[in-house]
């Protein structure tokens, strides 16, 4: 293999991994940390993409529209938590049903608002040469985001007062409440934080793929797979699982077909969970 081929292959592999990180990191907070099975996660990504689209259409630059979209979806998540999720903590099956219903409503609402058509934002930036290969500059942005977002989550959860209290509120709610943490408020902010991260993921996807109300379905399974394989250490777990699953998917897609690549991802997830039932970062029993 020539060095330029290897370099370009490595870059696209990193892009695939980064994409998995980006679509999963919001779910890592909501499902991994808070243990809420949010079946509307795909639709939160979709909302992020549509919010970005609206921002760009309203004249914002793409780079500004993206963080704005994340904030918009975060605010939306806050409302959802207050109206819906708040009443369902600890009720696993009910949460699943409620968020699944929410996902259907969101898809239809966006169809009504924006129409069912596929919209698009052209990929920004251009490409650069790597020997005989050329690579999209936007893939570097994705790789950067794949590093930045987990770092941000780590900083927020370990280095801020909110982060410590939020983790306490989800891990030992009674104890946290006993020492004066307003757990209900903490959960509200955590859900909003996870939603904003999902919004950011959708915003980053928008210039890569078609922006369409049904786009969430294409990502939700992989996001759950990544977080579950990642295990209890939500940040390192999500990044590690993205690396393993994304790496396998990309390598198999490249050597055979994208169909087998998807199959290999699923197969790897099943085998990993069979061998490590608590995920990559779970303690061996």
């Amino acid at each position: 293999m020539h060095p330029d081929q290897l370099a370009s292959l490595a870059l696209t592999l990193l892009t695939t991994v980064a994409l998995l990180v980006v679509i999963s990191v919001g779910l890592a907070v909501i499902f991994g940390m808070m243990r809420i099975i949010n079946l509307a996660h795909g639709e939160f990504l979709m909302l992020g993409a549509f919010a970005t689209l609206s921002g760009v259409r309203a004249g914002l630059s793409l780079w500004l529209a993206m963080p704005v979209a994340a904030l918009v979806v975060g605010a939306f998540g806050l409302v959802v938590e207050r109206l819906l999720i708040r009443r369902l903590y600890g009720r696993l099956a009910d949460t699943m049903l409620a968020t699944w219903g929410l996902s259907l409503i969101l898809v239809q609402a966006v169809v009504l608002l924006y129409g069912p058509a596929t919209n698009g934002i052209p990929t920004p930036l251009s490409s650069f040469e790597l020997g005989r290969y050329s690579v999209s500059e936007y893939s570097l942005v994705l790789i950067g985001a794949g590093l930045l977002l987990p770092t941000l989550v780590w900083l927020v959860l370990t280095r801020t007062r909110y982060g410590v209290m939020a983790r306490a509120a989800t891990q030992l709610p009674e104890m946290a409440a006993a020492v004066g943490v307003n757990t209900s408020r903490m959960n509200m902010w955590s859900f909003a934080f996870g939603s904003a991260l999902a919004g950011a993921g959708g915003a980053l996807l928008a210039p890569l793929a078609g922006v369409v109300p049904s786009m969430g379905q294409a990502y939700i399974a992989r996001a759950f797979m990544t977080v579950i394989v990642g295990g209890p250490q939500v940040i390192t777990g999500t990044v590690a699982a993205s690396g393993v699953l994304g790496g396998i998917e990309h390598a198999v897609s490249y050597l055979t077909t994208p169909f087998l690549g998807q199959g290999a991802l699923l197969f790897a997830a099943v085998v990993l969970l069979r061998v490590l039932p608590r995920g990559l970062t779970g303690r061996r029993r």
């Binding site: 081929q5 370009s8 292959l9 696209t12 592999l13 892009t15 695939t16 994409l19 259907l104 239809q108 169809v111 069912p116 058509a117 596929t118 919209n119 698009g120 052209p122 990929t123 930036l125 251009s126 490409s127 650069f128 040469e129 005989r132 290969y133 050329s134 690579v135 999209s136 500059e137 936007y138 893939s139 210039p207 890569l208 793929a209 078609g210 369409v212 109300p213 049904s214 786009m215 379905q217 294409a218 990309h250 897609s253 490249y254 077909t257 994208p258 169909f259 690549g261 998807q262």
Partner: protein, 404 residues
């Protein structure tokens, strides 16, 4: 529960419907298309064309002194919805003709239902060819018209080495065989083929492979909203300078409208219909379309024109037969009907149940449309004609495919 079954009722408000109205009242006709989901990129224009065609037939007096009443369903890009609604149209709504299906997978899902219920069925979309079924009329362009024009053009003008990217279902697989066959006949060669599942929207590994293989042209048989991402990622990786794309599907879903002109630059396609066609029927058609759906309608697709032709050919056959009864209408349809549509005059080839189409080659332009670069009039569906004669062998019921 989430039934989005948009019940569109066109025409007059005649109170009948249901089983009793066999010979008086409105004529119930059915349509099932994807109005939402990833396949709606095709379904939107096809649904609009359906409504416009029914309105047009009703405005010019209806059929046999009666109005048409359209019952239409949204299959939401799901094949199980197709079978459900096709059954409903045949059994509950008692439609005398059903038009619809977009992907070949959806067509094959509902074709047996129409056959079983003996309801006349029109499939109005470009496809991989070869369907031979007395009950079915295929008005879309087929490979012996479309790929037989596009592939030799690509080999002559771009180079002999082709790389095929195909949607991973029956359309993509059979069409990939056709590409191989036509490439071989014109002295070219398919150096790689990748099948892409419909829900894939990341093409990183595909783009790596293309850069490794260095074909002269990429033949894109990609389908649906998710696959639009390929053109975007192809352009963003800067591949457009070293290889060109030709496609028998790009444009059917208005990909050139969703993509920026920079991303859809220099892609060559072949269809019987383009909005830009310069003939009086088409000018009138586009005018009427804009009057109904607004001047800012993105682009009237080949699929829309095909749907329009399907409904009008059926209407002509009903007029000729003097009844909506299936066997009589089939006989009329097989009698060599012609229709002056937006693409020019099309002729229905009786024995094969396919259309003789004009085929134009065109290149994407910077106005989110196409510039026509070559035209061929009256191209017969030669493969279907060579394999399928439903007048002589009315009991044939299969899809012929090229031996790969």
């Amino acid at each position: 529960m989430i039934a989005l079954a948009a019940l569109v009722v066109a025409g007059c408000s005649g109170g009948s419907g249901g089983t009793a109205a066999k010979d008086q009242g409105d004529i119930v006709v059915g349509s099932v298309l994807d109005q939402t989901g990833p396949l709606n990129i095709y379904g939107k224009a096809m649904t609009d064309a359906t409504n416009l065609a029914i309105k047009d037939i009703n405005d010019s007096g209806g059929l046999l002194g009666r109005k048409l009443k359209l019952v239409s369903y949204d299959a939401q890009s799901a094949n199980d919805k197709y079978t459900q609604y096709a059954n409903q149209l045949a059994v509950q709504d008692h439609a005398v003709v059903i038009m619809g299906g977009i992907t070949s997978a959806s067509r094959e899902a509902i074709r047996p239902i129409m056959d079983r219920n003996r309801v006349l069925y029109f499939y109005n979309e470009q496809y991989e060819g070869g369907v031979c079924d007395k009950n079915v009329f295929n008005t879309g362009v087929v490979p012996s018209q479309q790929l037989a024009t596009l592939i030799p053009w690509a080999i002559k003008n771009l180079g002999p080495k082709l790389y095929v990217l195909a949607a991973d279902y029956n359309y993509g697989h059979i069409s990939a065989d056709w590409v191989k066959k036509y490439a071989g006949q014109s002295g070219g060669q398919v150096i790689g083929t990748d099948f892409i599942p419909l829900d894939v929207s990341e093409f990183g590994s595909t783009i790596n492979k293309l850069q490794g293989a260095r074909p002269d042209a990429v033949v894109s048989l990609l389908v649906g909203g998710n696959h639009i991402a390929f053109y975007r990622q192809f352009a963003s990786a800067g591949l457009g300078t070293s290889m060109k794309i030709v496609s028998p599907t790009l444009g059917l879903g208005n990909e050139q409208v969703v993509l920026s002109p920079r991303e859809s630059k220099d892609i060559v396609v072949a269809y019987p219909y383009f909005q830009e066609l310069d003939n009086p029927e088409n000018q009138q058609f586009v005018q009427r379309w804009h009057a109904a759906y607004g001047d800012d309608y993105p682009y009237v697709t080949d699929s829309a024109a095909t749907v329009w032709e399907g409904w009008h050919l059926w209407a002509e056959a009903v007029k000729k037969a003097g009844t909506t009864q299936r066997d009589k209408v089939i006989e009329a349809l097989e009698s060599g009907l012609t229709f002056a549509g937006p693409e020019g005059t099309v002729k229905l080839d009786g024995p094969s149940h396919h259309l003789v189409h004009a085929v134009h080659l065109a290149r994407t332009n910077d106005q989110k449309g196409f510039t026509i670069i070559g035209s061929q009039e009256a191209v017969p569906p030669s493969y279907e004609q060579s394999t399928c004669d439903l007048i002589k062998n009315p009991n044939t019921n299969q899809q012929f495919t090229p031996a790969a």
